[in-house]
Amino acid sequence: MNDRLLDFSIKYGFLILLFGLIIFFSLTTNGFASARSAAFVLQSVALTGILALGVTCTLVVDGFDLSIGAVATSALMLSAYSMVILEHSALVAVLLCLSMGALVGLINGLLIVRFRVPDLLATLGMMFLLIGLQRIPTQGNSIATGMSLGNGVVAEGTFSKAFLWIGRHRFDLVIERLLPMPVVIFLLIAVFIWLFLGFTRHGRMMYAIGSNERAAGLVGVQVNNYKIAAYMISGVTASIGGILLAARLGRGDIASGNNLLLDSVAAALIGFAVLGAARPNAFGTAIGALFVGILLQGMTMMNAPYYTQDFVKGAVLVSALVFTFYLSSRRTGAGR
């Protein structure tokens, strides 16, 4: 292959594909090309996008966080439990969820750093633990206002207006009530993680750890602290995802969150291929999430059945991984 063409396709291939998709769906599908449709796409990717940004931080330090889906659904249950059963305010519920996420991240980090449990195993264990834990307080029942608590007592608390606002409010932008709050939060987190990883010395050190942990340690980087921090970021972003989920559903549904996990990991991995980065990066992750979102939105609008959507998701992921690991490695093979 021509070297310049290879370089170009590695760098811009995915973005071109993304624009191609948008044009394709705009032409073939009624109502795809509109501001409202764009807001829909963003909303549907907001949740996985937020989780994916967290997992990106753990990928950067050469780790992995399998517990994010479970953290999100635990936050969903915790916020419901806090407001409906304990009748806390929205603020308390949100703070509880965020601290739960941070705590889970801390435990993950300590398991990995202090107790030397491999990252996949530690977070897998945490995933199971959380899936079980979130069901214990309600014996496996979903939480909703009016649910019976036994002994004839009925849960009186409700999801407060302020809490639902986090998930349901929509800002006016061009069109009235266009931009949903979760999208705004997603974009804010994306910008934050992008700046943090790409433009701060902390981010730079995290990348150094991911690339050669020993070397990073030998220049005085506090490897363990950074690794724990990465898992805590991941835990907190996952709990934010859970809060948004709770605010959208307006109830505490028990769920394993495995699909959330898989979708967000896919987004982060697709992100490797964006701009030929060949490594985890926040911009790529956001684009990866968007890519999957646009694809699914377009296909749903075209009435494609759900299994074709999984197939297409898988195909996108596999081709992104080929981009990343084969083509990019051929490029960096130069001069070795």
């Binding site: 070297d3 370089d7 700046l195 433009f199 701060t200 010395r201 902390h202 730079r204 050190m205 990348y207 150094a208 991911g210 690339s211 050669n212 020993r214 070397a215 990073a216 340690g217 030998l218 220049v219 005085g220 980087v221 506090q222 490594r279 960096t332 093979g333 130069a334 001069g335 070795r336």
Partner: protein, 505 residues
């Protein structure tokens, strides 16, 4: 029998716009050791990688034993009789397997070797190979737990077991002790007598004098000189490689001034004798010793990675007790570790980011990095040390070993420090880069004490004001670098062993 074992004609290879091999012609003969010399970036490694099937050639032809030879991949090259032992040791061994399995790995991978591993037979065979190579490690030890030298010996031993037609050794002695190197040379002699064509890549004059039948020099992707007539003209070879003649050691030895770091009764291991040593402002002290002499351990103790059994350290008269690397760096103790690929290089980063990693806060406003300032500083350092690259944003992997090492050294010369520790700074570095680094270290030596840990006497003489010899965790001798009596120095290093390299120049 065809005239040449391997014949290369007009070999071309480029990566992107970067043309690395510009038409290489060379031949290797049966029963002869051809030494390939070349400065960093000359294209030696690329040449090797084409011949051993890692890269495909862009142009030119290869003939092996008279037949056209175009290996599809590394395995294909090996099957056809070209075996390579690479500079990077980890290419050759599987760290998680034990020594016996590593020695027998090729056998295990052969088709038709049976489904089940016959443990007893495997171990007997492995023992035989180890004996023939003079390897004296426990065959049940995990390779990951072995010293670098042992790993290298295993990689070489395995290649030998293949009975190759052409054997390529890419800087095989760069991490071997004198004894181990001698064993290797003995083996190379034997293989040469058996008719194997050997291509030996090295910068070590001592190695070259010992084994070369002919010398080829490479510069800028071309063969710049061939020397076949005995006696071989080594001076001319070096000139052909560098483009100018080798410089004599030329500096004024620094006399002791104010002590910067003092080690008092420092005991590295329970059996070792206590170390008392001071390094002074502006002084460069070479700590030399064989592998396992404790010199790396000493560096690690000073850098806060390991603890001494007992004793004290003082910097500028004040108690110094590092608890971590970070703590050491904060107090002005910097170290460039040995084995740069494992311990220093961040492979995903470009030159500028590799260089600035320890001092990122100097290039940031609050937490945010100032990319411009960072790159400008890296560009300055590149110029000072003469790093050969297109720009400071080149990926570190695109540099040759010597240039990578320059970047790693530059990393620690960026900020002023009190004590600079350099552990094996010339490992896998060609003569040209070695001179550049040495010159820069001496030029910048004022204001700090510099301790250089190394195993080569000639390297030490090139750079140090004072040479301290270590053996078995203790200091065995100390020399001011003026008219050193080599015999005494060598016997300090080891009573019975002879350090070949010291006598070389």
């Amino acid at each position: 029998m065809p005239a040449h074992a391997l014949e290369v004609r007009g070999l071309l290879k480029s990566f992107g716009r970067n043309s690395v091999l510009k038409g290489i012609d060379l031949t290797l003969d049966y029963g002869s050791v051809t030494v390939l010399m070349g400065a960093n970036g000359a294209g030696k490694s690329t040449l090797v990688k084409v011949v051993c099937g890692h890269h495909s050639a862009d142009g030119g032809e290869l003939h092996l034993a008279g037949k056209p030879f175009s290996p599809l991949n590394a395995a294909d090259a090996i099957a056809k009789g070209v075996v390579t032992v690479h500079q990077s040791i980890d290419d050759g061994v599987i760290p998680d397997l034990d020594v016996a399995n590593n020695l027998m790995l090729d056998r295990l991978a052969e088709p038709g070797s049976g489904f089940f591993v016959r443990e007893g037979k495997l171990r007997r065979e492995a023992q035989r190979v180890a004996d023939s190579m003079g390897i004296e490690v426990d065959l049940k030890a995990r390779v990951a737990d072995l010293a670098v030298a042992d790993r290298q010996m295993i990689a070489i031993a395995r290649a030998m077991a293949r009975k190759p037609e052409v054997l390529i050794l890419d800087e095989p002695t760069s991490s071997l002790s004198a004894t181990e190197a001698n064993r290797l040379f003995a083996l190379i002699d034997r293989l040469r007598d058996a008719g194997v064509a050997i291509l030996y890549i090295s910068h070590r004059m001592s190695d070259i004098r010992r084994i070369a039948d002919r010398i080829l020099c490479m510069r800028d992707g071309l063969i710049s000189g061939a020397f076949e007539d005995k006696p071989l003209d080594y001076e001319a070879a070096v000139t052909a490689m560098l483009g100018h003649s080798m410089l004599e050691v030329d500096f004024t030895v620094q006399r002791a001034s104010v002590a910067v770091i003092e080690l008092q009764d420092l005991q590295l291991t329970v059996e070792a004798q206590a170390i008392n040593l001071a390094a002074h402002d502006g002084e460069v002290v070479a700590v030399i010793g064989l592998l396992g002499s404790g010199k790396s351990r000493l560096a690690e103790v000073i850098y806060g990675i390991n603890n001494a059994v007992s004793g004290q350290m003082r910097i500028d008269g004040k108690q110094y007790k590092p608890v971590s690397v970070q703590h050491a760096v904060q107090q002005g103790v910097f170290m460039s570790p040995k084995d740069r690929a494992t311990n220093a290089v961040i492979p995903d980063f470009d030159i500028a980011n590799n260089m600035t990693l320890p001092f990122l806060s100097a290039f940031s406003n609050g937490s945010f990095l100032n990319g411009k300032r960072l790159r400008r500083r890296a560009r300055d350092m590149n110029q000072q040390l003469g790093v050969v690259c297109q720009s400071e944003t080149d990926a570190i992997g695109t540099l040759s070993g010597g240039n990578q090492q320059k970047v790693m050294i530059a990393r620690w010369l960026m900020e002023p420090c009190r004590v600079l520790l350099l552990d094996e700074p010339f490992q896998g570095v060609d003569i040209g880069a070695r001179r550049d680094i040495g010159k820069h270290i001496r030029a910048s030596a004022n204001g700090r004490a510099t301790l250089v840990f190394m195993s080569e006497i000639d390297e030490a003489i090139e750079i140090a004001d004072r040479i301290v010899v270590m053996a078995e965790g203790s200091i065995n001798g100390e020399y001011l670098n003026e008219n050193i009596e080599l015999g005494s120095l060598i016997s300090d290093i080891s009573g019975s062993e002879t350090a070949l390299s010291g006598q070389a120049q």
